[in-house]
Symmetry: C2
Subunit: 154 residues, 2 copies
DNA sequence: CACAATAGACAATCTGGTTGTCGAAATCAA
DNA sequence: TTGATTTCGACAACCAGATTGTCTATTGTG
């Protein structure tokens, strides 16, 4: 089969979607039917130190306004809470709640389960090779969005 | 390095984005600065037979209203034209214009060039294996959206 | 101190999607 | 053949997730 570059793009997108759809379905089945992928990614960024809207925007490579909106829905759903920063009165410090952690853990477990299924289907070595090659192609930073993507200048 | 399932998802998304961003940048550099990936996909679907809004919606797995909007922008940009269907007065037959074909060809060339670069970086065999494995994982239909995806019930 | 940079709020806007409704045309079943 | 159902495309309202631009409060710096 001759594959075009566009087919490659579609394969990559298809792979991503397959994973993400399964995970949100799994989360919905466990009662978290209002979680979107972006929420999970945002919570992980918050948990790993992006504890204010501007910083979160930078890490996710979106504008701080977009990040603030995401935080607003996370707040509303109870997945994060907000306090003040003792060192900087401009900042509102964001913190992941236990409920947020629960969703993240379930999401991670679902992702890992999917990955294990893939490993069974194509072989663990092949999957590892696939990941390694993608990492090379993408520039490994892609896994850490703060270093990649079109920076939002804000 | 231990990779989680979520990292795998990010890698796939990152790969897709890397490709698509390069291609739209390349198209923009050649004067088509108003083309979005969805436009290219839609034109290809139209060219391959989805010559009316309802059918296009089915193929792209979106609602016919969304497809109609996409067609409207393609019309406005001059990438497709619209006529009547001699056999069914309800249908408006859509056709890709020469300008549309030009964009598709340039996009395809850009994708293929990117794919060749990747092949040089990780090896042609490895890239072929990666595509083969992704195809298995995704169910090859992902390359032909008309057969996959959450159907828009309309 | 004065001024530049930063955080976050708010508004307007854009894109790409959704549902729902509708009239016109086509198809199907009695 | 005719009446019911389906399908096509148009229109409206809406939504999610982004954008840019403007504003105030606060902080850091020459």
């Amino acid at each position: 089969m001759t594959r075009s570059g566009a087919d490659l793009a579609l394969l990559l997108l298809g792979g991503y979607r397959t994973l993400v759809e399964s995970v949100v379905a799994e989360l919905a089945a466990r009662g978290h039917d209002d979680v979107r992928p972006v929420h999970d990614f945002a919570m992980r960024a918050i948990a790993s130190g992006a504890d204010n809207a501007s910083e979160l925007g930078r890490r996710l490579a979106v504008s701080k306004q977009a990040a603030a909106k995401t935080i607003a829905v996370l707040l509303e759903r109870g997945y994060v809470r907000r306090g003040t920063d003792p060192d900087d009165a401009r900042r509102k410090r964001i913190e992941v709640t236990p409920l947020g952690w629960e969703v993240m853990h379930q999401g991670e477990a679902a992702f890992d389960e999917l990955r294990a299924q893939w490993a069974r289907r194509i072989g663990a070595d092949e999957l590892a090779a696939l990941e390694r090659q993608l990492a090379v192609l993408v520039g490994d930073d892609a896994v850490r969005p703060e270093a990649a993507g079109p920076a939002a200048h804000d």
